[in-house]
Point group: C2
Chain length 306, copies 2
């Protein structure tokens, strides 16, 4: 079993209440693939970097066994660069600088092995590029996509065409509301199901996540973290863990999707403990498993007989 | 085992996106005692009403077996009246009118049986009155208090004196932040524990509730409700269910407190389905139990072995 990941590979300039860093590896495909690599193998990374992309950042992927055959290198320009600053409560992120650079010319081309992946992760990029990927894959069992308010606002038609072709949409609560015009998340979910997907994850940040699948609702708690160091990549790490687990197990039952939500939440909770993907560099499988059990303990409801 | 409830008994004028009602029975003691009456018996209600308080609203309490010996009637004025309007997303409530009426002269006097209650519920009223109750009780096993931003802002010293004398504080997330000056709820909890209480519940509305007790965190989901009809009394119904269960079981273990959180959440979820306490008029024990199981199903995390 293998996972196909498409998305952005970037350098981020990030300021949080805990510090400031420039040129930290970022982008949706970076967090997606690194996170998923703890569960399934190989992960096929489809993306593009520029002439400034450092050898050590390539090695970060290689160390995790990620297949980079589909990672294009364009020496005519620099890697996608994005700078932003988080508010003191981390609920707001202000964009300071966006240089698309070589990403502007990104055309995802799938290698033959990548086309055969059982699970496909469409990271948050232009819906047209997500469609380009779907046009090349060979019968994946499960396709999930992420998106963001930028595409909801300006690329609604393309976005809906893409949404119609995936098994699962993953959005945060404000995106679900914006996409559907419904304030109630349950009503928003009903609208999204009419668009095509059979499964939906609504990420609620510090309040956890909801999985809606086949008339069943699963409410996952958030892991209690006193200090969120850098929220960047949390959503992508979530999706990487979720889909990495599904790809590895090749099991798409409701129960297994609940496990996937928790593994996704586990990966997100680790990612925010350090800047960029740094925490993933030294993460162990034992730590992942231990935190899974912590999630179970956190939300276990005893039977009512005391 | 019996529960002592002190708080306001009021008539509410309420406007929500689903309609408008005037003179609906309200007040913290109303929801607390009605909700608790599904679990423990008797519930001793300590409060005050005016000459306009209707016989049918007295009967509502009597039908539920609530002890009204401590409910004072002051014929020199009307019952506490509070009018408010909720925003379309129910996240904001605008006060329109507050007539304290006879409540201004409220001095809680405990009957002899009420003094012997094993559990005490201090509803959201002036901290000085909550202290007056604590000065009269005889060794209750568990005392919990609610409060609100009004007392946090203007009556901080009295409030802290009260907090120092209770076993559990119950607040919503914004109140926890305002009381402590900490944005992180975990840090806010640490500060609150230094004030005296051993147990803390933080209510997060549509995101559920957190129970912090003895170094352990329990995250309870919110029940999925498409249309919240009237949020009034949800927090009091929560606390009534919570303390009603503790009083009935007389068991203050961590596991049993988790059950109490879920029974509290169950009662809150029913209460918001209709205006004021109307849903509680026709609620059955079977419905309560069934919804408890729904909460379990909603948040159950399967073991990681698939």
């Amino acid at each position: 079993m293998s996972l196909l990941v498409v998305g952005s590979v970037a350098y981020d300039g990030t300021e949080t209440p805990f510090g400031k860093r420039d040129r930290v590896p970022g982008g949706s495909a970076t967090f997606l693939s690194l996170s998923a690599s703890f569960f399934t193998n190989p992960v096929h990374l489809i993306g593009i970097v520029g002439k400034d992309y450092a050898a050590e950042d390539i090695q970060r992927f290689e160390k995790r066994g990620i297949d980079l055959e589909g990672l294009q290198r364009d020496d005519s320009g620099d890697t996608f660069y994005y700078a932003s600053k988080y508010s003191y409560d981390l609920n707001h992120r202000e964009s300071l600088q966006t240089d698309l650079n070589v990403f502007e010319r990104f055309d995802p081309v799938l290698t033959d092995v990548a086309k055969k992946a059982n699970v496909v992760a469409l990271g948050n990029i232009e819906p047209r590029l997500q469609l380009r990927v779907l046009d090349q894959v060979e019968k994946p069992k499960f396709v999930a996509m992420d998106t963001m308010n930028f595409w909801i606002e300006g690329w609604n038609e393309q976005l809906k065409e893409t949404i119609a072709r995936v098994d699962m949409l993953v959005v945060n609560d404000s995106e679900a509301r914006e996409l559907t015009g419904e304030h109630s998340l349950l009503k928003a979910a009903e609208v999204i199901f009419t668009m095509g997907p059979k499964h939906l994850v609504i990420k609620k940040g510090e309040h956890g996540a909801l999985l809606l699948t086949d008339g069943e609702l699963f409410s996952a708690p958030a892991y209690p973290i006193v200090d969120i160091f850098d929220p960047t990549g949390a959503g992508d790490a979530f999706l990487g863990g979720f889909l990495g687990w599904l790809s590895y197990t090749d099991n798409f039952s409701k129960d297994n999707m609940r496990r996937a939500v928790i593994f996704g939440s586990v990966m997100a909770s680790f990612t925010v403990e350090e800047f960029g993907p740094e925490r993933l560099d030294n993460l162990t499988n034992d730590e992942i498993q231990e935190r899974y059990y912590e999630f179970q303990a956190l939300s276990e409801i005893p039977d009512p007989q005391h």
